[in-house]
Each structure stands twice: as C-alpha cells, then as structure tokens.
C-alpha cells in the first residue's frame, strides 16, 4: 500500500459537509452532537430578513475522541451562507471552547479542533457575528494555554475575515491545496483597492498568494495535505501528539517584524518574495 493515496481511492474531505467531516476526524466515526439540528436553535435575525435558516445555524459541535483523547470538534458548514458566523453559530464555537478550557481547569484534557470553512462575519448579523468572533479569539487564547488548538482549512470556501484571525491564533494549522487563508475576500480587496492591486478573478494569482501550498511554504501553516480524509485525520493526530508549541505563532511578533523589515513595500510583492522573506530558516 502506497503512502500517498491514489487519486481514485482517496476519500475527499473537501466534498464532505460539516457533519461528515467530523465523522472522518473522530475515532471510529463516533461522536455526540451538542445542540443538534432537531433543537432548531436557529438564527434569531435571519427570518425577519427573508433568509431561510439552517437548523444548526451552520455550525456542528461534536464531542468525541481523537487518538483516544477527549476532543470537541467545531465544524463550520461552508455551504450555508458561505460559512459566515452569526450570533448562534458563533456562540456554539465560543461556548464549546470555553467549556473545553474549563474542563482542563478541572483536570480533564479536552482538546479542540476547528474545521474552518468560513467567510467570517455573517453581515446579516454584523455586530453580533463580530462580537462572537472576538469571544472565539478569547477562548482560543485561553484554551491553548492547556492544549494545542488545531485548525483545518480544507476549502473550497477557505478561511477569511475575523475567522482568519482565529486561524492565526491556533497552535497548529492544516491546509489543503484547494483551500485559501486570508483576511479579506478577493472581491472586497478589488473593490477597495482596485483590480490592478488585486484581481479577484485571477485564480492562479489568488491561490499563489493565499492558497494552502503557499501558506505552508511561508511558515504560516504547519501541515499541508492532500484532499484525503485519512491524511487529514493523520495530520491532526500527529499535531496533537506534538503538544503545545513552546511559542505560539501569534506570539512571534518580534520575529515577524524583523523579517518584514527586510521587505521594501515601495514595490509590489510576489509569491516568491514572500517565500524568501518568511520561510523557515530565513535569517531572523
């Protein structure tokens, strides 16, 4: 059996919906969903705007085990409203992370795994989405004092907006080639800065700067895997086994500032330049 999954036999993670992704990640595919769809805890804000709600508000909270250790998996459904977070979905993630941290304070080593398929704040809920994301940030920083917090960005929506900051706070990140990680969506950048600055229709350009391979080669994600559920689960297990990093990526302020000092922003930047500036082993 080859180490790399054959294209025909691979089990696409990208094509799985949020619940099926959870199933692929946890031991034996077994999990217990909290606030499941039948509870119908939906957005209080969408109906009055004529937007059809999804019963789980686009977020699955699942308790299970990974590698025999207790874990809560937070999986965002990218197909519902672009994976954008509103009040309820955001509270599901923040609340679960808060409970995981509380577990650790009681001696229970619950970890958290985030499946980030999201455009960020759901604009129909704007300030409540933004506030929830701030609480997600707070909860990640709290929990990562005890356990690594791992984020998976698989695509095809990718991870943008305030949730890209959440990704930046994770202890470890896993990405696929299909995925992108960036703060602002390409269309918004084009609208704000012009098409010469950022052509939202130029896919090779966008993936070249923000796609999984580039983010991996520039040290902004930790593991780069094929779109295969087995490989993704193995990557997550390996990262959890590393334990907490000595220094979190988001704590490396001086290191990043030093590397950015070697870049002259008078000219535009290329993907190759970014690799030279940021890649592991670049002189600090």
């Amino acid at each position: 059996m080859s180490a790399t999954p054959d294209f025909l036999s691979r089990d696409s993670f990208v094509e799985r919906d949020a619940r099926a992704r959870v199933q692929a990640l946890v031991d034996d595919g077994r999990f217990r969903e909290l606030i499941d769809p039948f509870e119908r805890l939906v957005s209080p804000w969408l109906l009055r705007q004529g937007v059809v709600t999804q019963s789980d508000d686009g977020v699955v909270v699942a308790r299970g085990e990974i590698d025999g250790q207790p874990v809560v998996v937070l999986a965002i459904e990218g197909a519902f409203q672009g994976g954008s977070l509103g009040e309820v979905g955001g509270a599901k993630i923040a609340g679960a992370l808060e409970l995981a941290a509380a577990d650790n304070r009681r001696g229970v080593p619950t970890r958290a795994l985030l499946v980030l398929e999201t455009g960020g704040v759901r604009l129909q809920e704007a300030n409540l989405g933004l506030a929830a994301i701030a609480e997600i940030h707070a909860a990640i920083v709290d929990l990562r004092r005890y356990q690594p917090v791992i984020g998976i960005i698989a695509g095809t929506v990718g991870c943008f907006g305030g949730m890209s900051i959440a990704a930046g706070l994770c202890s470890y990140l896993v990405m696929t080639r299909e995925a992108r990680l960036g703060l602002n969506g390409p269309q918004v950048i084009e609208q704000e800065a012009g098409v010469a600055e950022y052509d939202s229709r130029d896919r090779p350009f966008i993936w070249g700067l923000t796609g999984g391979e580039q983010r991996y080669r520039t040290g902004l994600v930790d593991t780069y895997v094929d779109d295969d559920s087995t490989a993704l689960r193995a990557a997550v297990i390996a990262l959890f086994r590393r334990g907490r990093p000595a220094v979190e990526r988001s704590q490396r302020c001086e290191q990043f500032l030093a590397r950015l000092k070697r870049y002259d922003p008078a000219g535009q930047v290329t993907a190759e330049q970014v690799r030279q500036l940021l890649a592991e082993g670049a002189e600090s």
């Binding site: 217990r32 059809v52 019963s55």
Partner: protein, 118 residues
C-alpha cells in the same frame, strides 16, 4: 421567502428521526421526526417565491407512492430550501427516508450516515 404546509395519509408513528442536507445554493435540508399515527405533515420554507404549484406537484409525487405511500411511517417533515430543483428535493427526501429506515438519525449531505446522534 415563502412557507407551505401539506398533509398526507400515513401509517404508524415513525420509530426515529433523520436529518439530511444543507441550506446551500440549489440545496435543502430535510428533518424527519415522528408524527401522530395516520398523518404525515410537510412544512416547507423556501427562499424562492412563486413555486407553490411546483412544490405541491413534487411532494404529491413523493408522498403518494413514488417514494412513500399511505402506509409509510407517519412523520413531520420540515424542509428548509435554498432554491433546489424538484429533482434535488426528491433526492434529499429519499435520502432522509433512507436514513430514517437505517435508524442512524443524522445523515450527511455527502451521503455518509454519521455515527452521531443519541
């Protein structure tokens, strides 16, 4: 956004529940739960207006024999739709009843039934 309600004759109360699908573009989510014996109710919330007749026709097809008949388990069906075609609606309903029959509770949009749901 429009809402519709339908009723169909059914058999004994369903023995479980099922959820499939996502409220994504061209797709829908379907929740099945037990209903009092004898009647299946279907409530549809759809993002696309003006298709009441199409919904009626497709659901009549499904519940009057194409998928389930008057002896099928009595369920409350909730559909949250984001512009699916009748074909996709039929597919999701078939999927939901398959999950119900398998007793696994919650099936994913991509076809694999989860080990979750307690």
């Amino acid at each position: 956004m429009e809402k519709f309600e339908y009723r169909y004759p059914a058999g004994v109360t369903a023995g479980g529940r099922a959820m499939v699908g996502v409220v994504g573009s061209g797709d829908l989510e379907v929740l099945l739960e037990p209903n009092a014996a004898g009647t299946t109710t279907v409530s549809v919330t759809t993002s696309v207006n003006g298709y009441g007749g199409v919904w009626q026709a497709q659901l009549d097809r499904v519940f009057k024999g194409a998928l389930v008949g008057p002896d099928a388990p009595a369920v409350q069906v909730e559909i949250n739709d984001f512009g699916a075609t009748p074909g996709v609606v039929g597919m999701r309903l078939a999927q939901a009843f398959a999950v119900l029959g398998a007793g696994s509770g919650v099936g994913s949009a991509s076809g694999a039934a989860s080990g979750g749901g307690s």
